[in-house]
């Protein structure tokens, strides 16, 4: 069963509708996609079904509902679908999830810390502090921004769910602990701590890769077809 919810960033009730349907999608084994009417996939749906109101709910290509449904109504519409196996996979929403919000906040804090070198001597420091300042910017800022934005955007771009549960929090703990150990190790000159910090950062990237992989390359479903949610010319 393919359930498509047509929304827009500026529509307040769309956020509520999406929240309800995301919860239902966690319970039932349905192909769920949130389509933004500002993007080509959403516009194609608007044009095909001649929709004039959002949020609009389309099930297996047919318009089923307009406006925000209650949980009971939403569950009734997908009652025929089997229960979803609990795999910790979640579909991305319009708003940032708490873990992604914290990744982006962390990125900003590390950028300000790493950038301090510019104020101190006009460059990203020198001596043992230089690799610390460099990695506060590259790992602390760039990598954490990739974590936060990547985990938010890529599931929305592909329409595939991302591994959640404890995994984003493990990834976050590893990258913070790793960067702090790496920095402290360099500043006090204890290289085993630098290596341990580097290994923790690397493990955080491994966790991120494991979470993102099924978003990019979903497993084929029972009918042998990969989930193709977004209609895109040339795809």
């Amino acid at each position: 069963m393919k359930v498509e919810l047509l929304v827009s960033e500026w529509c307040a009730s769309c956020h509520q509708s999406e929240k309800i349907w995301r919860e239902v999608a966690e319970e039932k084994d349905i192909e769920f996609a949130v389509l933004d009417m500002g993007q080509p996939e959403g516009r194609a749906l608007v044009s095909r079904l001649r929709l004039k109101t959002i949020p609009a709910l389309v099930i297996d290509g047919e318009l089923k509902g307009i406006g925000v449904q209650t949980f009971a109504e939403a569950r009734a519409w997908v009652a025929g679908a089997s229960a979803r196996q609990k795999a910790g996979m979640q579909h991305a929403g319009l708003a940032l999830s708490p873990d992604n919000r914290l990744f982006i906040l962390g990125a900003m804090v590390y950028l300000m810390l790493g950038g301090l070198g510019l104020v101190i001597n006009g460059a990203l420091l020198s001596g043992p502090a230089r690799p610390v300042a460099l990695h506060l910017v590259t790992v602390g800022f760039m990598l954490m921004l990739v974590y936060g934005l990547g985990a938010h955007m890529l599931p929305r771009f592909t329409g595939n769910p991302i591994l959640m549960g404890v995994w984003p929090w493990i990834q976050m703990g590893l990258v913070h602990a790793g960067l702090l150990a790496y920095s402290a190790g360099f500043l006090v000159g204890v290289y085993p701590v630098v290596i341990a910090g580097g290994a923790l950062i690397w493990l955080s990237l491994l966790v991120f890769t494991v979470r993102i992989w099924p978003v990019l390359w979903p497993k084929p479903r029972n009918n042998g077809m990969a989930i193709q949610v977004h209609i895109q010319p040339g795809a």
Binding site: G38, Q39, P40, T138, M142, V146, L149, G150, M153, L154, F157, T158, Y191, V194, I195, G198, A199, I201, W202, L205, L206, F208, T209, I212, W213, L216, W217, H230, Q232, P233, G234, A235
Partner: protein, 131 residues
């Protein structure tokens, strides 16, 4: 999401893990990896991880944000091939300390950057009167 753009993101992740591994091995056993390892690590992370990630995401979102189709799919495909031919040559150059190989790889990687830049300029440029 276009398969090519998914490849860009996938390759970015692989380069990220590879670049991290190079740094870890170099820190643990200096001299085990020959050549200019610090420069290799820096470029694998920036050209391989960050830039490939930007390529994949930008090729997906910028046409959508600008309201236009991507100017040239063929240019974007060649960008994928050239970016992934250039960086391995640069890595080989640093491993063997052959500057001409680094230069050749750098020129190929740069041609991918130019293809991306030109493709995006034509995709994002406003059509008709300014609004």
């Amino acid at each position: 999401m276009h398969k090519r753009n998914r490849w860009f993101v996938t390759i970015a992740l692989v380069y990220g893990l590879l670049g991290g591994l190079v740094a870890l091995v170099h820190l643990s056993a200096p001299g085990l990896i020959p050549g200019n390892v610090a420069r290799m690590h820096g470029h694998i992370m920036l050209l391989g991880f960050i830039l490939m990630m930007i390529y994949g995401v930008a090729l997906h979102v910028l046409p959508r944000f600008s309201g236009n189709a991507l100017h040239s799919e063929r240019m974007a495909n060649w960008q994928l091939y050239l970016a992934n031919a250039g960086l391995p040559l640069m890595i080989a150059g640093w491993l063997t300390l052959l500057n001409w190989l680094v230069l050749l790889g750098g020129a190929i990687a740069y041609s991918a950057i130019v293809l991306f830049g030109v493709n995006m300029l034509f995709t994002v440029k406003p059509h008709g009167p300014w609004r």
